[in-house]
Assembly symmetry: C2
Homo-oligomer: 292 residues x 2
Amino acid sequence: MKKLADAQVTIVGLGLMGSSLAGALRGRCRAVVGVGRRAETIEAALARGLIDQGTTDLASGVRRADVVVLATPVRVILRLLSEIGPLLPAGCLLMDVGSTKVQIVARMADLPSHVQPLGGHPMCGKEIAGIAAADPTLYQDHVFILTPLPRTSETALALGLALVKAVGARPLLLDPERHDRLVAAISHLPYLLACALVGTAEAMASADPLVWEIAASGFRDTSRLAASDVTMMLDILLTNKQAVLEAVSTCTAQLCRLARLMETGDEEGLQTVLSSLRDSREAHIGAVTHET
Amino acid sequence: MKKLADAQVTIVGLGLMGSSLAGALRGRCRAVVGVGRRAETIEAALARGLIDQGTTDLASGVRRADVVVLATPVRVILRLLSEIGPLLPAGCLLMDVGSTKVQIVARMADLPSHVQPLGGHPMCGKEIAGIAAADPTLYQDHVFILTPLPRTSETALALGLALVKAVGARPLLLDPERHDRLVAAISHLPYLLACALVGTAEAMASADPLVWEIAASGFRDTSRLAASDVTMMLDILLTNKQAVLEAVSTCTAQLCRLARLMETGDEEGLQTVLSSLRDSREAHIGAVTHET
């Protein structure tokens, strides 16, 4: 297996994640090839210097690839995994950047044996989808989770790790079940909370439209994730259903506990819980320093 | 009643909101007097040029005031409202910046008749409490809600409006009940959601401490309000109990609706709801433009 510097890396899907990854890798490997659905996307990627070559044809885009990274919504990754095996050269490392891992890694296990599969999930993003928001520094200093399979060779994993480090990210190895449970709580649940908050404001706005006028930075930040790309989030939620539903249920219980403390007027209990949550967030996430 | 430029304004409470208000008003009125609990706070406010004079003695701080603004946690405001009347000169405008208004305005109604009361709530803030975070631009371009009482004279309201405009804020007149219902949904609920999210991560972390390692910007932003000052938030929640509990209940129903759509695998329904929430947020709050 080649070193990253000598490898051709083909990125399938030139949305925000794929085009940013391409831009971050360009110059750090022999060539970055972009595969997009539309000719205009390829042209934009070339014009912005994010890829060395591009094509709308999957087969020709991956034919000479040493590394292929699937950077589409999760269920498109699942479909591509069923088709792409025979198109890949022997020894090719096949990665992805999908936000859920159990179903993807299960599908990777069925790939033909000449392919080296490696699941991946970079813990970064933006709410703005598409190549227009491409940013080669997107991955910098973020955790990039890798979920190797039992069949993933050591050299394949080493190449995957080199790619993660080349874009400035910090690799973290996890098994897919643990990954999906963790991201359900810290990523998919926050999305649903943001959506539920917007839904609450919407419900209230039908009686009093002023609700939107006075929504300030607290509302804006807490609801920010509701602006995420719906196609991407739908795939995530539907391929991580059980873990997400468990996280929702834990969170609902937390919310009920806070409501009950208010309802019963247990001031001391409420203060204790709120203080402990505040301290916990500060200890683990850090103090808030920016203006709001 | 004097014009703002000729008025002495006394701010009671030199935390974030009070000291920022003082700094924003200084030079726009005859004198800004700060009343703080501790001598060190007064010294800091003087050293930073936020006030013209300061004292730890409430009575002497308000004795010659044309305007007094109470800028303490809500339940301290309630206590001050029971004591301060006899200390105020005739015709004095008494405002506050407390985040709930029904109980405060009810208490204002009992003030002696020589005082002109006017409830207020600026829709801005930071998670960082205290004078160290003081920022005279804090109020700029934010909505500043005013809740006049039937007994508030037109000239008193005009002076209050002048003060709001002098600090760069946009005044909005509301009755206290409507105010409390609205802020329950767009401000107090987001705080509780942020707390419940941190509680969920905490619950999960007892089984898997890695949860904190991979928490990324989505978690950070959605949980940001959980870093709010607990004393301040406790007062807010306990003086707006009914409206907050109703908002929590509406939000829980929204969350359940999303969970049910996932559970039953109603993909089309889920997509419709998520898209409509996304569009609603964009229409009312604006598109997300910053990186995450």
